[in-house]
């Protein structure tokens, strides 16, 4: 999905827009944390609707992986995960909304790239979800690796980075393929369903969502191979380092909580643990919260809101969701993934 947005903004236009934005008036340099406190809520930019990441139900309640991150920030800062105003944003307007101060934080499956930081005056607070382009095939093709896809017919959405990446991947691995490009993602999926091609390529998280739209989802498998880097993470304004630090360390706290075994279920017992790192996390020792301008139990509040990283992942996109996306790269570094958070000390 983010690929689409990137592909539809010609580089020249993006550059001009960035220059215009830099010249326009910016919100006051410091004090997002103070503003959030005075206002009593966090204004969080999210996707208008992306299964597993941000969705709104009939009652107007938001849920999803990106939504839960907003709630964790609100819990850390305001001690109340419900104090969030969600601002649904299109791919085209998301960064401008952040720059203009309409939101405090963007949590909207946005890929961390050089252009977006150096060019737009924004800063990524880290990576919450390591996505990447993958392949979906029908199970009866009996393929377990992308390296077995030589001479495959591949459906792809035209004009996306996915289209470019797949060509690079096959060329680099001395394989050939027949491209079937379609103007929309829906058309590419329909072509895959009807057998015009035997492979569909897109970002992996999107492939898992597309799989659910097939008449027999179990007949299709998403291969484990990832052929591009799409690190998705929350974004803040680069000129407010204090607030950026708060957002960054909430992310680290959620990952560290999983590593330490702190969950929404046992958070109240963490302060009485005998392990020093658990006690520091709980704010029982160390006084770390004050350095961020928060209460000492800020990290524990963040976890109590919607759980640690594993809880948030599994509920929204993992084994407890219909998507069922394996943790893959988004697993702790100790457990076969690359999630590695600096220590709280």
């Amino acid at each position: 999905m983010w690929n689409v947005a990137k592909a539809f903004v010609p580089p020249a236009t993006a550059g001009v827009a960035a220059a215009l934005l830099l010249a326009s008036a910016l919100p006051s340099a410091a004090g997002t944390l103070e503003m959030v406190r005075q206002r009593g809520n966090v204004q969080c930019g999210v996707s208008e609707g992306l299964y597993g990441f941000s969705e709104r139900n009939g009652q107007g309640e938001w849920s999803g992986f990106d939504v839960d991150f907003c709630r964790a920030v609100a819990a850390a800062v305001l001690n109340d995960p419900t104090k969030v105003t969600f601002v649904p944003l299109s791919a085209g307007e998301r960064f401008e909304a952040l720059r203009a101060g309409r939101i405090d934080l963007l949590s909207r499956n946005s890929t961390w790239t050089l252009e977006r930081e150096a060019g737009l005056g924004l800063a990524f607070a880290g990576v919450t979800y390591h996505d990447g382009q993958g392949f979906m095939v029908m199970r009866d093709l009996n393929v377990t690796s992308a390296l077995e896809l030589d001479r495959a017919k591949i459906c792809v959405e035209a004009g996306t980075t996915s289209q470019l990446n797949v060509a690079d991947f096959f060329s680099a691995n001395s394989m050939t393929f027949e491209e079937r490009a379609f103007p929309t993602a829906a058309a590419a999926l329909e072509a895959f369903r009807s057998g015009q091609c035997n492979v569909l390529t897109r970002d992996q998280s999107a492939l898992y969502a597309e799989r659910l739209k097939l008449p027999q989802p179990a007949d299709a498998v998403v291969l484990p191979d990832v052929i591009s880097k799409e690190p998705l993470g929350p974004v803040a304004r680069a000129d407010d380092f204090g607030w950026l630090n708060v957002v960054k360390w909430v992310n680290f706290a959620l990952v560290n909580a999983e590593e330490l075994g702190i969950t929404s279920g046992n958070a109240s017992e963490a302060a009485s643990s005998r392990k020093p790192d658990v006690r520091r996390f709980a704010g029982a020792e160390g006084g770390l919260g004050k350095l961020l301008g928060l209460e000492d139990d800020w990290a524990l509040r963040a976890v109590r809101a919607r759980g640690n990283y594993a809880e948030i992942y599994e509920r929204n996109v993992g084994v407890e969701s219909r998507l069922g996306i394996p943790r893959g790269l988004n697993q702790l570094w100790t457990m076969g993934g690359i999630l590695y958070a600096p220590p709280l000390r």
Binding site: T144, S145, P217, A218, V221, L223, P224, D225, V226, E258, E259, L260, G261, I262, G265, N266, E269, A270, S273, K275, V278, A310, G318, V319, G324, P326, R327, G328, L329, M335, G336, G337, I338
Partner: protein, 218 residues
């Protein structure tokens, strides 16, 4: 029969008395204990599946987890372990067969209840097809309706295959209750659907290194 096999697996130094205790022990450990289950907290009960053994219930070799996260599938998995190693994540309810090149074959498992989860490094010390079942006296006291001996077969709670883990009381085995995959119900053994344990059994030779991990605790 079990005693003889264990003896072969764990070396000549073991005494028959010790083996006898072990054999009883693992049979107790591997199956749900209703008495203990009743004492569990509400929170634990929500996460676990409260189900007793159902000897005689038939589950065939064809029973596999077809869809969803607990279906057998190749996944991305970074590991420093050599290809062929089994890595069990009890908190995730998965066993991974490391395949190198950052991938692993992943199977859904049923694991031990809270308090019965363990971690460690062991080896596959013995393999058995359609293992027999001898409920030990402690288990018969709690569940007097259980048979004294049950020959291996499709109605046996041990399922189609068993991989014995070192000299511990624990096993990776099949089940005649495939709906328990993904839950914490046993007392420390790891169970797979029969079709899945058959697939795994064929890929895992004697002596395979098995790493058992679970999440940290406070």
């Amino acid at each position: 029969m079990i005693l003889q096999s264990l003896s072969a697996a764990s070396g000549p130094a073991r005494t028959p008395a010790r083996l006898s205790a072990l054999a009883c022990c693992w049979l107790v450990m591997c199956f749900p204990a209703p008495a203990a289950a009743q004492a569990r907290s509400l929170a634990a009960a929500q996460e676990t599946l409260d189900v007793g053994d159902q000897p005689g219930r038939i589950s065939t070799e064809e029973a596999v987890i077809r869809d969803g996260p607990f279906a057998r599938q190749v996944v991305f998995f970074r590991s420093n372990e050599a290809p062929g190693t089994l890595v069990i994540h009890t908190s995730e309810r998965f066993v991974y067969l490391v395949q190198g090149n950052n991938r692993a074959l992943r199977y859904g498992i049923g694991v031990g209840r809270e308090g019965f989860q363990w971690s460690g490094l062991v080896q596959v010390s013995r393999k058995a097809e359609w293992p027999d079942w001898r409920p030990p006296p402690e288990m018969l006291t709690r569940q007097p309706y259980l048979p004294r001996f049950m020959a291996g077969g499709p109605g046996n709670p041990m399922g189609a295959r068993a991989l014995y883990l070192g000299s511990t009381v624990f096993r990776i085995h099949g089940t005649n209750q495939p709906e328990t995959i993904g839950h914490a119900i046993s007392s420390g053994c790891f169970r797979l659907a029969n079709g899945d344990i058959i697939d795994l059994y064929a890929r895992v030779p004697l002596g395979t290194k098995v790493v058992v991990r679970h999440g940290a605790s406070l």
